[in-house]
């Protein structure tokens, strides 16, 4: 039972975070920025794509520098 629960939790953590937690963190940051702008009534569609593109680029740079 405990191992099944652990496997379930591990599955969702792997699913949501993947190989680089910084990408998931950037997505949360981008969504927060979009939410804040939407509440203020400003155009709010742009922060998420900008932040995730920057995060993926940085992640790729780090992975290649480490020999990935």
């Amino acid at each position: 039972m405990t191992s099944a629960l652990k496997a379930f939790v591990r599955f969702w953590v792997d699913f949501a975070i993947g190989d680089d937690w910084s990408i998931a963190a950037a997505a949360v940051l981008g969504l927060g920025a979009s939410g804040a702008l939407a509440r203020a009534g400003d155009p709010a569609w742009w922060p998420l794509p900008v932040v995730v593109i920057a995060a993926v680029l940085l992640s790729l740079r780090r992975a290649i520098a480490r020999g990935g």
Partner: protein, 232 residues
């Protein structure tokens, strides 16, 4: 909806992807039967935020892996039909829950949106059965298109497929998650098309950039070794 099922099935596991789609349709049917016309009052915004955010982070993970592999091994290495070793893919013989969840979420969320539209139109016209029959015909037609597209999609090498599927899941995830925050997209649903173009262009540019970084690293590594080995 069909695009997600076909892409995930081709890149990972058909069995799990189709099971996820069937599960999504079953849950959807149960919701429609249970709620009926009350479905119109269901708020999709929180659902879009959660499902969109999960699809986004999962899609970004695949996009990153796809770009890294394409930059390391090229687009066509191994050729068509080459069985690439995929340490992150589905293990043969074991059920791939990741494919199941991605297809399930894609089908249930988009299906729910369609169901809300069908109920809204059907209620407004006072003819829910006709609206439901129309949507059922559309589902069968789109399913047939997906089955036809399978042959084309199956020809794409796996690492390229991973990159394209990552870009597609990232597109859907971004679109829904941003809608879930209460923001609107320029061009409304058409934003899916231009957003897919932006992410695809980024993926192609990033794989070129990553290839350059790899070459730069390969050139600098022997130079650094020579400096270390140089007698003082």
């Amino acid at each position: 909806m069909v695009a997600i099922v076909v892409a995930v099935g081709t890149a990972r596991s058909w069995r799990a992807s189709l099971a996820g789609a069937a599960g999504g349709l079953l849950v959807l049917a149960a919701i429609v039967v249970a709620l009926g016309p009350a479905l119109e009052r269901v708020s999709l915004q929180p659902l879009r935020l959660v499902v969109g955010a999960l699809l986004l982070v999962f899609g970004l993970g695949w996009l990153r892996k796809g770009i890294l592999r394409v930059s390391r091994d090229g687009w066509m290495a191994g050729g068509v039909g080459y069985e690439e070793v995929d340490e992150d893919g589905a293990v043969s013989g074991r059920f791939d829950w990741t494919s199941f969840v991605v297809s399930f979420k894609g089908v249930s969320l988009e299906g729910l949106e369609v169901a809300v539209i069908v109920v809204a139109f059907g209620s407004a016209a006072g003819d829910l059965p006709s609206a439901a029959a129309g949507s059922a015909v559309a589902v069968v037609a789109v399913g047939l298109l997906g089955a036809l597209a399978y042959r084309l999609v199956a020809r794409i090498p796996r690492r390229a497929m991973q990159l394209f599927v990552g870009a597609m899941l990232t597109t859907f995830g971004t679109f829904w998650a941003v809608q879930g925050t209460g923001a609107t997209w320029p061009g409304d649903t058409w934003a899916l098309a231009w957003l897919a173009g932006v992410y695809l262009a980024f993926s192609l540019g990033a794989s070129r950039l990553a290839t350059g970084w790899r070459a730069q690293r390969a050139r600098s590594a022997p130079a650094a070794l020579e400096l270390l080995e140089e007698p003082t």
